[in-house]
């Protein structure tokens, strides 16, 4: 565990922040203009949504025993320092004979969308059979008709999904998605730098934290927590509520209270003490705690946000049945426990907690990995946005975070 732990530091570049890929592309980036240009579509484009017959490709699962799986970096168990060796995936291949081409090329939801959109919109295969994106991006892809309905007959283990995750607003009967991992967005602080921080209000106004606060570039997490702190429900709020929440964060930016908005990279700053408190993801904090007990995760009284990263099968995937076999495999409680022991986010699989007792009893009792029903009931999810709301809210949020 400790050995593989070191390898996680580059996670700074993942989740919602910057990706190495984008940096490298930017070597000649006086031409940001040019780069942008070559990506932009030609003279007019059709609406994104494809017709149903354009979604399906002949399934070659029987002939070709492979599945092409795109996931986030550092989001799967590895054997020791050897990142190429992944015990659960290797066991899967042994069990089913299906080779997994596992690629860690989802660095950022928006960027991944930019990468697959042209093919999906043109009704062409993406070369992927399975990928993992966060709730709101899953919602957008379902709305645009970019993903296929899952065949639950191939996935008997799907019933092990935790009840709290069974019906998100964007996919009420989980017919398109299966959670890979879930997590909380709450607050974290470094006890060496500051005293306990227990609410967003303190984060945004406490004088001793001035310039030592970060929030996440993930709009749903940052704004969701802010709305909660104002007594609003993130799953049901008005445009005025949102505007008020934006003003509140803007004020803290203007006064210099908020240092910046980040993806995963807040983790190092928090560990180094450059920031005292921040909006944080539960899994990151558990990993920081392995090295430094002064890093604390806080569940504000106003509530925390619950998010999931979801597995989905894109249109024209050539090995859909194999992808479903793989999803089924990860819903086996023993496999799920093995994965959760490494990843440290919320395990979406019932029965994994019992299996975890054998691997690491301490992790099995960790409420951030296996929260009880009462905790989950008290979490909130961000409301399902229409295309127009999504655009307006994102625009407003991007203004605040300086872009």
């Amino acid at each position: 565990m400790t050995a593989s732990h070191d390898a996680r530091i580059p996670a700074a570049l993942s989740r919602a922040g910057l990706s190495r890929r984008r940096f490298l592309r930017g070597v000649g980036y006086g031409g940001v203009a040019l780069t942008g240009g070559s990506l932009l579509a030609a003279c007019g484009t059709d609406p994104a949504k494809p017709r149903p017959e354009e979604q399906v490709a002949p399934d070659r699962s029987q002939q070709e025993k492979v599945v092409n799986f795109s996931n986030w970096p550092l989001y799967i168990d590895v054997a020791g320092k050897n990142e190429g060796k992944r015990p659960t995936l290797d066991a899967f291949t042994k069990q089913t004979g299906i080779e997994v081409n596992y690629t860690e090329d989802v660095n950022d939801n928006d960027e991944f969308f930019g990468k697959v959109r042209p093919q999906l919109q043109a009704g062409q295969p993406t070369g992927r059979d399975l990928f993992v994106v966060t709730d709101w991006m899953a919602a957008r892809m379902i709305r645009l008709g970019f993903v296929q309905q899952l065949d639950k007959a191939n996935m008997p283990n799907a019933g092990n999904l935790r009840a709290a995750l069974e019906s998100p607003p964007f996919d009420p009967d989980r017919s398109f998605t299966m959670p890979w991992q879930s997590g909380f967005a709450g607050l974290a602080y470094n006890a060496k730098v500051t005293g306990e921080v227990s609410s967003v209000e303190e984060l945004l106004t406490r004088p001793d934290l001035k310039g030592k606060v970060t929030m996440l570039t993930e709009m749903r997490d940052t704004m969701g927590l802010t709305l909660l702190d104002m007594g609003k429900d993130p799953s049901d709020f008005t445009a005025d509520d949102y505007a008020a929440a934006i003003d509140r964060v803007q004020k803290a930016v203007d006064s210099g209270q908020i240092r910046t908005f980040t993806g995963n990279e807040y983790a190092q700053d928090l560990a180094k003490g450059n920031i005292g408190a921040c909006v944080a993801w539960s899994g990151d904090v558990i990993q920081l705690q392995f090295e430094d007990k002064n890093i604390k995760f806080v569940t504000p009284d106003a509530g925390v946000m619950l998010w999931s990263d979801n597995m989905m099968v894109p249109n024209k995937a050539a090995h859909k049945a194999n992808a479903e076999t793989l999803m089924n495999y990860y819903y086996d409680p023993a496999v799920a426990a093995e994965l959760a022991a490494w990843v440290n986010y919320i395990c979406p699989v019932d029965g994994a907690q019992e299996e975890m007792q054998e691997i690491d009893p301490e992790l099995a009792d960790n409420p951030l990995i296996f929260p009880d029903q009462a905790t989950l009931d008290a979490t909130h999810v961000f409301k399902d946005l229409s295309a127009e709301e999504e655009r307006n809210y994102t625009q407003a949020f991007q203004r605040v975070i300086g872009a």
């Binding site: 700074a12 570049l13 922040g17 910057l18 190495r20 940096f23 490298l24 930017g26 070597v27 000649g28 980036y29 006086g30 031409g31 940001v32 203009a33 040019l34 942008g36 240009g37 070559s38 990506l39 932009l40 579509a41 030609a42 003279c43 007019g44 484009t45 059709d46 609406p47 994104a48 928006d110 960027e111 969308f113 930019g114 959109r117 709305r143 645009l144 310039g211 030592k212 930016v253 203007d254 210099g256 908020i258 240092r259 910046t260 908005f261 990279e265 700053d269 180094k272 003490g273 450059n274 295309a387 127009e388 655009r391 994102t394 625009q395 991007q398 605040v400 975070i401 300086g402 872009a403």
Partner: protein, 302 residues
């Protein structure tokens, strides 16, 4: 080959190749040689440029599709919303360029005139940072400038600066990052033009009782101007479009136009605005550079 057979055959007859290609052939050869470059330009520059311009005037959304509408308002709206970031980008880029020039000139001068046998080693040292990723180098600055980092940690320990003082997340850090990252682009052209200066001119100035400073002012500096022009352009242009330094070293209050374009394109999915901003950025850089090069004298820029 023809000569060889002739000798073997015992007939010492010269069969010379025509010394010049036929005029007919000569006419198309230069064009044929240009072709790969022209195709490259057409496919990777002109075509994207045209679609960029066309996108910048479209209306629509990702759900409904985009259609050409010749909507000039895309430009005015985007510019009025983000003029601040535009000016800030040019301001930071200008500061970084001036700082880079101040640091690079003595460095290039020393390498060209004083380094002796260390010249190559020093040049390699200037280029060496390029062997590491841009990202890693910028992240390294967060460690150096961190609130408890290499620099401030020490100063705070001995009480020279107050415990709340910080360098990161301020314009200073962003400009410093820009300056550092583009330094080699400034140093190398400067070095190239300083190196080429004919030393006899400096001797002549000396012989005419010019002071060292006057020699520099009247001889060395004017002769190095092509390097100054090339170096400032190579620094200013990429610095104005940069979006990495601000994000890693700055805060939202330092946001630059590159950050905005990135977010409009990838996150807000407002392609027309992103295209309008990109196009404006490009045109304004071209205009600035054009005036600058005209003032500096194009014939020197070789």
């Amino acid at each position: 080959m023809s000569t060889l057979t002739a000798v073997r055959g015992g007939a010492p007859v010269e069969t010379p190749e025509p010394s010049e290609p036929t005029p007919r052939r000569r006419r198309w050869v230069p064009y044929a040689l240009l072709l790969p470059g022209l195709v490259w330009l057409a496919v990777f520059f002109l075509a994207p440029m045209a679609t960029l311009f066309s996108t910048s005037l479209q209306v629509g959304s990702i759900d409904e599709g985009y259609r050409p509408a010749f909507r000039i308002a895309n430009y005015t709206e985007a510019l009025s919303a983000f003029s601040e970031q535009f000016f800030r980008s040019f301001g930071y880029a200008a500061m970084a360029t001036v700082l880079a020039l101040l640091v690079s000139y003595p460095l290039a001068y020393a390498i060209a005139f004083k380094a002796g046998r260390w010249k190559n080693v020093l040049l390699v040292l200037v280029i060496a940072p390029f062997f590491t990723s841009f990202l890693v180098r910028t992240l390294a600055w967060t460690a150096i400038l961190g609130d408890q980092g290499l620099l401030l940690g020490q100063l705070k320990d001995i009480g020279l600066v107050s415990p709340d003082f910080r360098l990161l997340a301020r314009p200073f850090a962003v400009v410093l990052g820009l300056t550092y990252n583009f330094l080699p682009f400034m140093t190398l052209p400067l070095y190239a033009s300083l190196e080429r200066i004919d030393r006899r001119l400096l001797e002549a100035a000396d012989d005419l009782y010019s002071s060292a400073f006057t020699t520099f002012r009247k001889v060395t500096f004017p002769l190095s101007l092509p390097g100054v022009v090339a170096g400032t352009l190579l620094t200013f242009i990429p610095a104005a479009g940069d979006y990495i330094n601000q994000r890693l070293l700055g805060t939202p209050r330092q946001s630059m136009i590159g950050t905005v374009i990135d977010s409009q394109f990838l996150r807000v999915l407002d392609y027309p605005s992103a295209a309008a901003l990109s196009f404006t950025l490009m045109v304004s850089i071209v205009v600035l550079v054009w005036f600058y090069v005209r003032r500096a004298g194009t014939e020197e820029l070789v």
